[in-house]
Subunit: 699 residues, 2 copies
C-alpha cells in the first residue's frame, strides 16, 4: 500500500516498537510477518528464565512494584498512563547502568559528552522533520469522545472477531492473562460468531501487515471491516495524524512555540561546529548525551516499554564519508561473535539468526562498514556486561523499506522478553542527513575543512548575486532565497544560465517564500562557467548513531536475570551482576540485640569507604525473610553478624545466587566483597580460598 | 504595601533570586535594603579571586564559552535566552558534582533516591499552590508587543534616570561593563537631567524595596513615575500575573493539561506512603531526587544563574514533629563553625555575619532545631568539599515576611560572586504543609502510624455520615464534601451539633463545590460527643527540605576557583579540586614523534583502569600552550612523556596550581595520581616524597 504520511510508531507492545525513530520518518515494520505471528501466539512466544521456568510477568511485575523498582506516577491522584516513577532500587539500577555506559563508551572512546536542553524551539524540529512527520494515526469516537490509536483499534476488533470465530469452531483459545485482565474492564466479550474461512484469512493477513498501513490505508480497513468502538459499538471518525511531541510555549509571549525533545540527537547536531573545534579539528570523533526525552503516546499500555518520558543515551559518531568508514579499533572487536538477523532472511519469511563474527559480517558486506560494525560489537559488549542474556539478544537488520532513503544501513539490538523481541538499541548509519538539513536551514558551516595535499582544480558553473539589490528586493527572505540559489545543482545552473541569457530572467523554487517560486532577473544574478582551485577539502561528515533506550534495556535485563527458587515459586530472585546491582551488600545482624550495633556500624563505615553500597536490615524479621527480601532486590551479597562475630570478629558472607556462605575474619570478608563487586573475582574463586560455612549463625 | 497576589521570583540578577521558592508562594525579598544597595553599587560589590585579582566576569565568561563549559542552546538558530547546553567539561563537572552529592547525602545517610517524571498533571500543581501562585508580574507595550518583567522595567527606568541625574550633577558614574554592553543594544542612553533631591530619594527608596511590591503596587509606581518602554518611550499596560510553569497537554485529547515540574519535590511527597513502606515503616527517613526542573522566566538575563531549564538536587527529610526534631547524628557536626546572617541583624539594616558553631546556634534557638541545623552543617561540608571558598559562603536566615506562614525556619546558603550574593541552596523546615495538602485533596493516608505504648482516651465530637444518601446527593462531589466534613474542627463541630439540633440542618464551607456552601440536613449527618480510645498514634511528618540549584552552585564555584597567572592576565586557571575536575590528568607527549605513542597508549589504559579520567593532547602545539589550555579546563595534573621516558620509563607529573613538577618511575607517578585524585594526599605530600623536576623535558 502507499505511504502518504510516513509514521514512526508501531502498533502494539507485542512487536518491538522503536523508542526512537532510527528510520526517523518511515513506518516501523516488524521483523517479518512470521515474527509478528510468532509474537501474537502466546504459546510460541513463551520465554523462560535461566533456570527454565516460564517468565510469569504478572508475578514479576507485582514484585517489581512491591519492591519499588518502579511505580505509576501520581498514583494517589489516579495515575497517568505511560508515566512511571523509579523508586530507590530502580533509581540506583538506572544510575549504575548509566555510569557503566559512560565508562564503556564516553571514557573508553574519549567521546565528547554534552547535556543539551529538552525544551526545543519549533524551528529546529521543523527542520529535522519531526513537526511534519513524527506522528501516529488516531480515531475519535464522536459520541463518547474516546480516542483510539487507529492501528491498535483495528487489531483489537479483528483479534476479538477471530477469537469469537475460534470459539464458535470449538477450538481452544490461547489467553494472555494480562491482556485479558485489561480488556475485561474495557471492551465487550468477544461475540461467538463463526466467520467464513476467506474472512479469517483476510483478517489474519491484515493483522500481519498492520505496521505497514498509513492513515488512508487504515481508513479503508476501518470502513471495509466496519471497525467500531469495541465498548459502545459506535462508529469512529476517519484516522487523523497526531503529532507525538509535547508542545509548549517558551517565554511570556506566545510567539515562540516549542516542544519537549523526542530524542537527544538534535542538540548534538546543532553543536557540531563547537564540538569539532573543542576536539581541535580532529576527525573522526563522537559526541554523546544521556538524558530524558518525551513522546506523547496516544494510549501507552506496555509498562516500562512504552512510556511518555524516558531516559535515552545517544552517541553521534562523526566520520569522513570517504575511505570506507574504517575504524581504527575495529581489530579489537573483529572476532566477537554475534547473532545476526539479516534482511534477506527476513524477506524469505524466516527469523533465523546467523552466528557470525562481526569481522566476517563486515568483510562479506552484510554490515555496511567497519565503524557501524565496531559499534554493534561494542553495544553487545555493553549489554552482556550489564546482565543481558546473550541467548536472548539478536541484531536485526532493518528492511530496505524500514530505513530512511538516506540511511546506509541500520541494525537494532533486540532483547527477547515476555512481550516478544524488544528493540532496545538502534544503530544506524544516517549518512550526512542531519548535519545537512541544519546547515541548509541556518547557513552554519556544519562541515569539516581539511587542507588538501594537492590543490584540486574544478570547472564549474558559478553564481554571482548582486547583494546590494538582493536585500532590498527580498527583505527577510533574502537569506532563504540566497541559500536556495547556492543549493542549485551544476546541471540546473547550466540550464538556468541559458534561460538567463535568452529570457533575461530565471525562476527558481524556494520553499517557504511567497508561492514557492522566485523570479530573479539578470540585474540580480549572473551565472558563468569558471575554474576554481580548491586547496581545502570541505565535507559534511556522516553520522553513525547508536541510540539506547535505558528503561527498555533495564526492563528486558530484569526479565533476563529473574528466576525463582526451586520449590518456592513465590521467592523471586533478581541475579543482577554486582556492578549494576542497586545495593551490593546487605548487612544483617542476627537479631535486634544491641550487642551487634557497634559491629554493624563499623562494617557500614568500612564498606562505604571501600565504595561498596550497603544497606543494613536490623528489623526483627527472621534472617531468612530478610534475605528473601533482598533476593527480590537483587542484592548479590549478604553479611551476617552473630554472637560468634562479637567474640572473634569473624563474619559470614552469603552469595545470593547459590545461597552458599563462607566465614572468615572481617578483613578477609571485606577484601572478598571489594574484589567481587569490582569484578576481579567470582564467587567460585572465593569459595576456593575461604572456608565454606554450613552451620547456623550462633545466637 | 499589601501583598494581594504573593509572588515568588525576585527582581534581578543583582539580588540572589531563589531558583526554588523555598518560601513557596511569598515574595522573595533581598537580605535587606542595605544588602541590595551594596549589590547595586558595583564598587562595593567587587569580588576578588583567591589571588586578590578582581573577578573580570567578561573575560571569565568568554573563557568558559571558548572551552565549552557551556554554550547558548540553538545558537545557530539564533539562540533562546535562558537556555544553555553544557559542553564536555561542563557536563563532566556537573556529573562529578552530582556524584559527590549522591555519595555525601544519599549514600552517607541511606536516603531513598527516587526519579519522578517531569511531566505533571494540572491537579497536583493546583493542590501544591503552583497553578495559582507561581507567577511574576509582566507589562506589555501594546504598540510594539514587547513584554517586560514589571519590576525589572521599573528598575531599569529609575536607574537610568538616577544615572542621568548624576551626570547632570557632574558626579562620576560607576559602570557595570557587561550591563552597559547589554543595554546599549536595547535602551536609549540615559538623558542627562538633574532631578530634585526629594525625587532622587524617592527613586532610591523605591529601588531598595522593589522586591516587596506586588502587581497593584507596581501598577501604582508605573503610573506615578510615568515609567515607559525604555526604547520607544511608549506607555505600557498595567502589570498582569504570568505563571512561570511551562504548560503542555498529556495524551491525545486536550482534557489533561499538565506542566513541566517547577521543582522535584512534589514527586517525593506523592510517593511518601510507598517510601515509608519501603523503609519498613521506620522514621525518620529522607527521600532525595536529582533531576531537571523548569521555569518559564519572563526575560532571563543572568547567564547560568537564571535559566529556564535547570538541574536540582532535593532532599525531603521526614521527621516526627514531636520531640523537638532531634537528629541522631547532630553530635558529629555540632562543632562546625558557620557564617550566619540572622534575621534580626538584617532587620537592623546590617549584613554582618556571625561566626558560630552550629551546636551553639541550635542551643540558643537561632536555628530552630537539630535536624535543620544538621543539614545546614552538611550543606556547608558539601559546598566546601566541591571547591566553594568558605570566605564567600554565608547562611542567611529568611525574614519573617519571606517565609510561608507554615514554615518553622528557613536558611539559604548564599555564595558571593560578581553578581552579588547568590542563593544556591535553600534549607527550609516546611512543617507538615506539603503532605497535608495532598492528603486532604486525595484522601491518601500520607501519615505515619505508630503503636502507642499506652492507649490514649479522647473525648471528642464525632461525625457520622449517611453514606448511602451522601453519594446520590452529591455525586462527583461526594468525596470533596466528605473531606470538608472530616476536616471540621472540634470547636466547629460543637457549634454545628447545636445548629443541627435546633434547625435540623447545617451549612458548611466546601471550596470548589457549587457556591462554596453546602447544606446538610439531619438525614445525612449526625454529630455526637463520644470517647475514643486510640491505640495507634497517627501523625503527619514534618519536612526539612534542603534544595540545591546545581547549575548555580557550579557557576559560583567556578568564580571561586578562577584566577590568572601573575603577569599574564589572559592565562586563566580554574583550580577545581581533583574530585570534581572534569578531567583529572592531561597526558602530553613532548612532540608528535611516534616513539611516544606506545607509552601514552599504555599510560592511558593504566589510568583508565585506576578510574582516573584522562585526556591525551598529542597536538603539535608547544607544551606550554597545551598546559595553558588545560589550566583553563581546570585539569589538576599533567603527565609529560619525553625521550627520557622512552629510555628509563620515568615520567614527570605537573601540578596545575603551582606548575611545579616531580619526576619518578611510571609506577610511582601513577600511584601518586591515584592518591591525589582520591584525596588521600595533597600535592605538598607528593613534593615531600618524590624528587622535584626543575629541568626541561628531554627532546
Amino acid at each position: 500500500m502507499t505511504q502518504l504520511l510516513p509514521r514512526i510508531s508501531p502498533r502494539s507492545f507485542l512487536t518491538p516498537p522503536p523508542f526512537k525513530s532510527f528510520n526517523k520518518f518511515r513506518t516501523f515494520t516488524c521483523s517479518t510477518a512470521l515474527q509478528k505471528k510468532a509474537n501474537r501466539n502466546p504459546k510460541m512466544a513463551t520465554v523462560t528464565t535461566k533456570t527454565g521456568q516460564a517468565v510469569d510477568r504478572l508475578t514479576l511485575d507485582s514484585m517489581l512494584r512491591r519492591r519499588m523498582f518502579y511505580t505509576p506516577s501520581f498514583e494517589i491522584y489516579g495515575g497517568v498512563s505511560g508515566l512511571y516513577d523509579y523508586g530507590p532500587p530502580g533509581t540506583a539500577l538506572i544510575a549504575n547502568m548509566t555510569d557503566l555506559w559512560r565508562k564503556h563508551f564516553v571514557l573508553e572512546e574519549d567521546m565528547l559528552e554534552v547535556d543539551c536542553t529538552m525544551l526545543t524551539p519549533h524551528e529546529i524540529l521543523k527542520t529535522s522533520g519531526h513537526v511534519d512527520k513524527f506522528a501516529d494515526w488516531m480515531c475519535k469516537d464522536p459520541k463518547t469522545g474516546e480516542i483510539f490509536r487507529a492501528d491498535h483499534l483495528v487489531e483489537e476488533v479483528l483479534e476479538n472477531r477471530l477469537k469469537g470465530d475460534k470459539e464458535a469452531r470449538g477450538q481452544k483459545v490461547e489467553v494472555d492473562a494480562e491482556k485479558e485482565a485489561k480488556k475485561k474492564k474495557k471492551s465487550k466479550e468477544a461475540k461467538v460468531v463463526k466467520l467464513d474461512d476467506a474472512v479469517v484469512k483476510e483478517y489474519e493477513e491484515t493483522l500481519a501487515q498492520i505496521d505497514n498501513f498509513d492513515g488512508p490505508d487504515l481508513e479503508k480497513i476501518i470502513k471495509k471491516y466496519d471497525i467500531r468502538n469495541p465498548v459502545t459499538d459506535g462508529e469512529v471518525l476517519p484516522p487523523v495524524a497526531f503529532n507525538l511531541m509535547f508542545q509548549t510555549s517558551i517565554g511570556p509571549s506566545s510567539n515562540m512555540p516549542g516542544y519537549l525533545r523526542p530524542e537527544t540527537a538534535q542538540g548534538q547536531f546543532l553543536n557540531f561546529q563547537k564540538l569539532l573545534e573543542y576536539n581541535q579539528q580532529s576527525m573522526p570523533f563522537a559526541s554523546a548525551s544521556i538524558g530524558k526525552s518525551f513522546r506523547n503516546e496516544i494510549s501507552p499500555r506496555a509498562g516500562l516499554l512504552r512510556v511518555r518520558e524516558f531516559l535515552m543515551a545517544e552517541i553521534e559518531h562523526f566520520v569522513d564519508p570517504e575511505g570506507g568508514k574504517k575504524h581504527p579499533r575495529f581489530q579489537e572487536v573483529k572476532d566477537i561473535e554475534m547473532s545476526l538477523l539479516d534482511r534477506n532472511v527476513q524477506l524469505s519469511g524466516s527469523t533465523k539468526t546467523t552466528k557470525m563474527t562481526i569481522g566476517k559480517a563486515v568483510e562479506i558486506g552484510l554490515v555496511d562498514n567497519e565503524t557501524l560494525g565496531y559499534f554493534l560489537a561494542r553495544i553487545q559488549l555493553f549489554l552482556t556486561k550489564i546482565g543481558v542474556d546473550f541467548t536472548k539478544l539478536r541484531f536485526r537488520q532493518h528492511m530496505a523499506n524500514e530505513m530512511a532513503h538516506y540511511a546506509a544501513d541500520c541494525w537494532d539490538a533486540e532483547l527477547e522478553t515476555s512481550y516478544g523481541w524488544i528493540e532496545c538499541v538502534g544503530c544506524a548509519d544516517r549518512s550526512a542527513y542531519d548535519l545537512t538539513v541544519h546547515k541548509n536551514k541556518t547557513g552554519a558551516p556544519l562541515v569539516v575543512r581539511e587542507t588538501r595535499p594537492e590543490p584540486l582544480r574544478i570547472e564549474e558553473w558559478q553564481i554571482d548575486l548582486e547583494k546590494k539589490k538582493f536585500g532590498p528586493r527580498f527583505k527577510k527572505d533574502s537569506k532563504t532565497v540566497e541559500n536556495a540559489v547556492e543549493a542549485l545543482s551544476q546541471e540546473l545552473r547550466e540550464k538556468l544560465s541559458l534561460d538567463l541569457e535568452q529570457q533575461g530572467k530565471i525562476e527558481i523554487d524556494v520553499e517557504g517564500v511567497g508561492s514557492g517560486k522566485v523570479e530573479l532577473d539578470k540585474d540580480l544574478i549572473k551565472i558563468e562557467k569558471r575554474t576554481r582551485v580548491e586547496n581545502v577539502r570541505e565535507y559534511t561528515p556522516n553520522v553513525i548513531e547508536p541510540s539506547f533506550g535505558i528503561g527498555r534495556i533495564m526492563y528486558s535485563m530484569i526479565e533476563h536475570v529473574y528466576w525463582s527458587r526451586a520449590g518456592d515459586e513465590a521467592r523471586g530472585v533478581l541475579s543482577f551482576p554486582p556492578t549494576v546491582a542497586p545495593t551490593k551488600v546487605l548487612l544483617v545482624p542476627l537479631s535486634t540485640n544491641t550487642a551487634f550495633k557497634p559491629l554493624t556500624q563499623n562494617l557500614t563505615t568500612k564498606l562505604r569507604r571501600l565504595g561498596v553500597s550497603t544497606r543494613v536490615d536490623d528489623s526483627s524479621a527472621s534472617i531468612g525473610k530478610r534475605y528473601a527480601r533482598n533476593d527480590e532486590l537483587g542484592t548479590p551479597f549478604g553479611i551476617t553478624v552473630d554472637f560468634q562475630s562479637v567474640k572473634d570478629n569473624t563474619i559470614t558472607l552469603r552469595d545470593r545466587d547459590t545461597t552458599k556462605q563462607v566465614r572468615a575474619s572481617e578483613d578477609e570478608i571485606l577484601q572478598a566483597v571489594k574484589s567481587l563487586t569490582d569484578g576481579d573475582e567470582t564467587w567460585a574463586d572465593i569459595l576456593k580460598r575461604l572456608p565454606e560455612f554450613t552451620g547456623q549463625e550462633v545466637e
